[in-house]
C-alpha cells in the first residue's frame, strides 16, 4: 500500500513537472486531471475535477465562447476517434500573445469503449515568432529581388538605349565629311545626353529613397505643400484652365518627410494635368480622410483614365507608360510608389477609361490633427 502511494506520488510528480499543459477528460468531457502547466492555481485545479468547461468558465467568469470552442474540439476527437492537432494563440495574464500547439486524442478500454480523452499543449511562441520573422524576411527579400530586376531592366533599357544612340551618332559624325551634316548630327546628340542625364538622376534618387531609412519626418501642412505644387505647375494649370479643389478639413497636417510629400503631391497633380482628357477642363480634387488609424490622401481627376483590366499589374512599374505623351518616361508613379512604401504606406488606383482616375495613398498612423 505504501509502495503504491509512493508510485502514485512519483507519477503525479512527473505529470506536474512536465513543461506541458495536460488535461484528461472522461467520455463526457468532464475533467479527470489537469496539471499545473494547464492551471497553475491549486484552488482552480481542485475545482475543475469532475466538471466541464461550461462550469469552469462560469466559475472563472470567462467568456463562454472558450467553452464552446473546447467542446467542439472534444466532440471532433470523440466522433472521429482520431487524434487532432491545432494551434491557438491567446493572451497570457500579462497580455503577451502565447501560441500553443495542441493535440488531443482518445483512449479506449479493453472493450473498445472511450475511457478518456487526453489533451496537451506545448508553448511554441518562440518558434512562431521565428517563423513570423522568417516570413517577413522572405517578403523583404522577394521585394528586394523585384527591385533588382526592375533596376536591371531600367539600366538595360533606359540607360543603355541613349548610350547606343550616342555611339551610333558618333560613328556617323566620324564617317561624315560634310561639316553641315556633322553639325546636324551633333545637334541630335543634345536631347540624347539630356535624356540620359535625367534618367540617371531619377535612378540615383530612387536608390537614395531605398537607402534613406533614417529620413526625418516632420509635420507638413498639406495646404502649403499643395501650394508649392500649384506654383510650380502654374503655367500648365493656366494653359488648361484646370480647377483644383481641396478638402483637408479632416486631416490638414501629416507627419512625413517633407520632400517626399512634396514629390508625391507634385507627381500626382502633374500626372492629372499631363493626362487630361482633350478638350475637357481638368478638375482635380484632393482630399484627406481618416480611416481608423490610417490617413488616406486621394487625388481624383476627370482625365484620360486608364484601362486597369489590362494594366493593373504593371501600373506602378518602372518604365511603364500607358498614354502617348512626349514627356512620359514611366518614372513618376514608380518614384511615388517607392516613396510611399519606403515610409510604410501603400498606394492604389481606381480608374475608368475616358472618365478619370483616383489615386489613393494610405499613410501609416503617425498623424497629427489640425491644430
Amino acid at each position: 500500500m505504501e509502495q503504491l502511494d509512493r508510485q502514485k506520488a512519483f507519477y503525479e510528480n512527473i505529470l506536474n513537472k512536465l513543461p506541458t499543459d495536460i488535461a484528461v477528460f472522461d467520455a463526457e468531457h468532464r475533467y479527470l486531471f489537469v496539471n499545473p502547466g494547464a492551471i497553475s492555481k491549486e484552488e482552480y485545479r481542485k475545482f475543475i475535477i469532475g466538471k466541464d468547461d461550461y462550469e469552469y468558465v462560469a466559475y472563472r467568469n470567462r467568456d463562454i465562447s472558450v467553452a464552446h470552442q473546447r467542446r467542439a474540439k472534444f466532440l471532433e476527437v470523440k466522433n472521429s476517434g482520431k487524434e487532432i492537432r491545432w494551434e491557438d494563440t491567446l493572451p497570457d495574464p500579462q497580455g503577451n500573445m502565447i501560441t500553443h500547439l495542441r493535440r488531443m486524442y482518445p483512449v479506449y478500454d479493453e472493450h473498445g469503449e472511450l475511457s478518456m480523452v487526453i489533451g496537451f499543449g506545448i508553448d511554441i511562441t518562440d518558434r512562431k515568432k521565428m517563423e513570423e520573422k522568417q516570413a517577413a524576411l522572405v517578403t523583404q527579400l522577394s521585394t528586394r529581388n523585384t527591385q533588382l530586376t526592375d533596376f536591371c531592366s531600367i539600366v538595360s533599357h533606359n540607360l543603355r538605349a541613349p548610350l547606343v544612340n550616342m555611339s551610333m551618332l558618333a560613328d556617323f559624325i566620324e564617317a561624315s565629311d560634310d561639316p553641315a551634316e556633322q553639325k546636324m548630327l551633333i545637334s541630335k546628340l543634345r536631347p540624347v545626353i539630356d535624356n540620359l542625364h535625367a534618367t540617371f538622376n531619377e535612378l540615383v534618387e530612387s536608390i537614395q529613397i531605398r537607402q534613406d531609412l533614417e529620413i526625418k519626418r516632420e509635420d507638413v501642412c498639406l495646404k502649403d505643400c499643395l501650394q508649392r505644387t500649384i506654383d510650380g505647375l502654374q503655367t500648365e494649370i493656366n494653359k488648361l484652365g484646370a480647377k483644383i479643389e481641396t478638402d483637408f478639413t479632416e486631416i490638414g497636417v501629416i507627419n512625413y518627410p517633407p520632400q517626399y510629400l512634396n514629390s508625391i503631391i507634385h507627381n500626382l497633380v502633374s500626372n492629372s494635368l499631363k493626362y487630361h482628357y482633350p478638350g475637357r477642363r481638368p478638375l482635380i480634387s484632393i482630399k484627406t480622410r481618416k480611416e481608423g488609424e490610417k490617413v488616406i490622401l486621394s487625388v481624383e481627376d476627370n482625365g484620360l483614365g486608364i484601362d486597369l483590366v489590362k494594366h493593373r499589374e504593371n501600373f506602378f512599374k518602372i518604365g511603364k507608360v500607358f498614354h502617348r505623351h512626349p514627356n512620359a518616361k514611366g518614372f513618376g508613379l514608380y518614384m511615388t510608389k517607392t516613396q510611399v512604401e519606403a515610409m510604410g504606406g501603400r498606394i492604389w488606383v481606381e480608374s475608368v477609361p475616358e472618365e478619370g482616375s483616383v489615386f489613393n495613398i494610405e499613410f501609416d498612423n503617425r498623424i497629427k490633427k489640425v491644430s
Binding site: S156, F172, H323, H325
Partner: protein, 131 residues
C-alpha cells in the same frame, strides 16, 4: 521594293536606322510605328493584303502604351491570318539574357538583335528577303 515596319518609340534610333538602310543600296519602303498598339492595329487591318504587309519587322521592346512583349502576344495570334511570311526581329537595347531567353518562347520571332545593330547584319537580313 522591300518593305520594313519599324516599331520603335525612339526617334533618334529610328532616324539612324533609316540612314543605315538608305546607305545599303536596297530600295525599301519603311513604315514607322511609335508603339506596339499602332502597329498591331494597322497589321490587323491589312492582314489579307499581302502587297501592303512588310517583309521584315524590327520591334523594340521598351515602348509606351503597348510594349514589345504585349505586341508579340497579339502578333502571335494574328500571324496565322497574315497573308505573308514576315521575318520579325526584336531590336532592343536590352542585354538581359532573361529577355533573350523569353523571346525564344515566341515562334514568330526570327532573332533577337541587341542595339546597336551592325550595318552588316541589316544587309544580311535584307538579302534574305525574297522579292
Amino acid at each position: 521594293m522591300k518593305s520594313i515596319f519599324l516599331i520603335d518609340d525612339d526617334p533618334i534610333f529610328v532616324y539612324l536606322t533609316r540612314r543605315i538602310i538608305a546607305s545599303i543600296n536596297c530600295p525599301c519602303q519603311i513604315n514607322e510605328f511609335t508603339d506596339g498598339e499602332l502597329a498591331i492595329s494597322y497589321l490587323s487591318q491589312i492582314g489579307d493584303q499581302a502587297e501592303l504587309l512588310p517583309d521584315v519587322i524590327f520591334l523594340d521592346l521598351s515602348m509606351p502604351v503597348m510594349d514589345g512583349w504585349e505586341f508579340l502576344k497579339e502578333y502571335s495570334e494574328l500571324k496565322p491570318k497574315l497573308k505573308k511570311d514576315i521575318a520579325l526581329f526584336i531590336v532592343s537595347s536590352s542585354i538581359s539574357p532573361h529577355e533573350v531567353e523569353r523571346s525564344k518562347s515566341y515562334r514568330a520571332v526570327t532573332d533577337f538583335l541587341i542595339k546597336p545593330v551592325e550595318k552588316g547584319k541589316i544587309i544580311e537580313i535584307m538579302d534574305n528577303v525574297k522579292v
